[in-house]
Symmetry: C2
Subunit: 555 residues, 2 copies
Amino acid sequence: MHRQKYTIGVDFGTLSGRAVVVRVDDGAELASAVHDYEHGVLTQSLPDGNLRLPVEWALQVPEDYRQVLKTAVPEAIRLAGIDPADVIGIGTDFTACTMIPVHADGTPLCETAAFAGRPHAYAKLWKHHSAQPQADRINALAADRKEPWLKRYGGLISSEWEFAKALQILDEDPEVYHAIDRWVEAADWIVWQLCGTYVRNACSAGYKGILQDGHYPTRDFLSALDPDFADFVDTKLRHQIGALGDAAGNLTEQAAAWTGLPVGLPVAVGNVDAHVTAAAADSLEPGQLLAIMGTSTCHVMNSDVLQEVPGMCGVVDGGIVTGYWGYEAGQSGVGDIFGWFIDNCVPPAVHEQALARNISVHQLLTEQAAAQAIGQHGLVALDWHSGNRSVLVDHQLSGAIVGQTLATTCVDTYRALLESTAYGTRMIVETFVNSGVPVTELVVAGGLLKNRLLMQIYADVLGLPLSTVNSAQAPALGAAIHAAAAAGAYQDVAAAAKQMGGRVRNAYLPIPDNVARYDALYAAYVKLHDWFGRGNAMMRTLREISATAQAGANE
Amino acid sequence: MHRQKYTIGVDFGTLSGRAVVVRVDDGAELASAVHDYEHGVLTQSLPDGNLRLPVEWALQVPEDYRQVLKTAVPEAIRLAGIDPADVIGIGTDFTACTMIPVHADGTPLCETAAFAGRPHAYAKLWKHHSAQPQADRINALAADRKEPWLKRYGGLISSEWEFAKALQILDEDPEVYHAIDRWVEAADWIVWQLCGTYVRNACSAGYKGILQDGHYPTRDFLSALDPDFADFVDTKLRHQIGALGDAAGNLTEQAAAWTGLPVGLPVAVGNVDAHVTAAAADSLEPGQLLAIMGTSTCHVMNSDVLQEVPGMCGVVDGGIVTGYWGYEAGQSGVGDIFGWFIDNCVPPAVHEQALARNISVHQLLTEQAAAQAIGQHGLVALDWHSGNRSVLVDHQLSGAIVGQTLATTCVDTYRALLESTAYGTRMIVETFVNSGVPVTELVVAGGLLKNRLLMQIYADVLGLPLSTVNSAQAPALGAAIHAAAAAGAYQDVAAAAKQMGGRVRNAYLPIPDNVARYDALYAAYVKLHDWFGRGNAMMRTLREISATAQAGANE
């Protein structure tokens, strides 16, 4: 009998970080601990409270990330009751694209007296959306010049990504921009904090940093954006790339003191929360589309073929695991649409009934919706309340519902909204398949997998077997799996995922009758999708009218 | 100083009848009384409760109408404190098309022992909708044979009207059909009860009875529908026509005993509730479009030109007053859509806020919607929850809303629904104007006129001055005005309306800025209208899928 070994996975989310202690042999999760970021998300002002931030800003304080290492990690180890000496590696995953401007030694600019009062010196969280003008410029120029990398991103670069966010700093605070030595993904910065070594992980460098086939956008392109931006890649971005599941370095004395882990412990290359979950679900084979379903849905999938898929977020060589093309797609709104509906569109009697039965309104509506025959409600909806990421890449789109009568109830509409998100996923799957990238299984992670009706609807709408991830803290488990690979306990991430990750295969199977019924409703969805999404500018016009009206009202 | 004279107007609605005592000189309403029909609307079973009625049936008991004469009329006279000897005439108006099968003396078949247990022997209320298969047959044959009268009804005959309802009886209970001596509008039957004389009023004979230019559908046409239907017009329908505002006869001794009014009192020719309201509003000039806005909206307007207007309900010579072409159009759902929204789509906090302020949810939402700038909500809706009467004449259509985001509130949607019904009215007005029938003023009657926001929206959306009827019981007043004309107190209905009826002219004027803003939103409505209403069959398909699913679920 051998002595059990463990790895630590640390998942850095939007509001907190979670550490989990995982047994290397079988992936058993012994204990976990969560630390909430002291400053959360800065949207109104800097920590000193003196400066009001513009709209669509979302900053973070890097020290909050370090605090997770100092508190949640030792707490998880303590709760697990293990000897830290039996920990053989640590891995992390992070939100993306979250960027930190740092000095050459990794110190964030916001931690220096000179820049503590400057908003652009802080970490820009993934959902900092105010760099849209910069993204627009990049996209227009890239399309104009037919830059070869553009098609790897479905034709559009996001305002969330590395280049747009950096260009915003140059535009708005050149002094901060010029003081930046390195423009670093938070995913890589936290690894740098652990092992003292800066390595750019292949995942975010590819998906968020426009690194394709070893090349970034050219100096010529950057110069055309702004002459002062010409050396952005050469001086602030380009750096050694680390393959996912490799070790970036070894735990420093300082980080050992923070975490209570042994000095010299292997530290895995950084990674992104969605992508690391594929390992936790053991869904790394080509054709296994992993959907992380929460307020929004992120889809990741490996393939052995490289194709241009319209509207995908990106395709990156080794972006999920080394050896495959990793594809990413997304739905801008899913759970947030259901939440909005519950909060805004459900009458008192339903709330009272849920309260009386001591269940949530979601549960009650789901139960009543489950009693309906498919199509009984006579409705079809578009799931674009937060815009459409894939496959239309248009955040000016909006929601719609068709087919209401005086007999339409909130149960009807709730079910129609559940279905609309499944239709959105089917549109993505069909776009992959029609582009020559096969999809054979849907694997679901994230908070929404506990809704059994929703899962069956997805299986029926997609006509695909649906599996569900085993772990309730899949990203942290995925990070721990990468740590095990980085520590050499397994040959590679895939081998580690087979032992430590897992999913309930065929948790939901499509019911042939239901599939046929949904085909008819999906045809209506496609018709709406193409007419509103491609056939006219009505939704964009309505948003413009609204913006103008609100601006006028505020004058 | 002359001794004041009075007329009585009696308005027979769907659930009750209302009598009002009106001063002939100036239309002052001295008192009114309401009598609820004992049997209301029979939708489940006959009065004995033994027989279950099929879906979409709606019957009434004619004796309930007589009870209004026996109770509400004397009560109104008592409350007014007048001497019945000073009453110079009585007039009535009725829902339409409500039909009663009677023997030659006017006795309803349901009042005879032989037929009291037969559903088809009862009055068929206007909203008895189960004769749609018969209406479909009539329409298909008429279109096939290019019957000249079809275009006078916008191309379609309704299942609510005289021919479809009669053909249903022949199809389903030929024994009852063959026992019918007269197939009588309730509007004319009640006059027959008052004066002992059967006169078909020109209004319902034209709008509901397909009487055009003195001709009904031919024997040849009827025979092609069903050989047994060939003599329907000749034996059961054709009868003396009475012009609106003429006297049909004089009060019988029996009716004088019921009402407490003098024997021999002039009784006005029957009329329809919507059409008689035009007199109450003094809106009888060409171009004055009267909208009676309640759960649904009925539009009536005089014109001196005869045109084919697509989707109108009908055009009838003298259908509103003698000497003009009377046009009718309609919106299937208006107030019922707002009511549905309040009941089904408004969250608890809003209900609680209304309760705390002791106002209705309608009032609260209206107040908050009024604070919005036009277009601020970013929404556009289709007002087809009850289908579309004019101008699409398609009851398989349904509601839709476009432009929802996670920031959309119930106030936003409520305002969008208010606006959608105004767009629906504008579509009707533009169809009239584009067909060569001018519309210069919108006159509003009905319960919704008390919503000031709604009224201003209509003025702004239509770009027309909007007037509101003075009377809160306009149909009954309109009937009293017709009684004054029938009694010879005025030269004709128009002259009587000028003195006794009235409206607040220009109660709401279009605000040029608002008109321009609504033009942009109306353009989106038109695009939706044409795509869903004419461009594809999606809404019909959704209804079919729903019907099939419900049938399957009930198996």
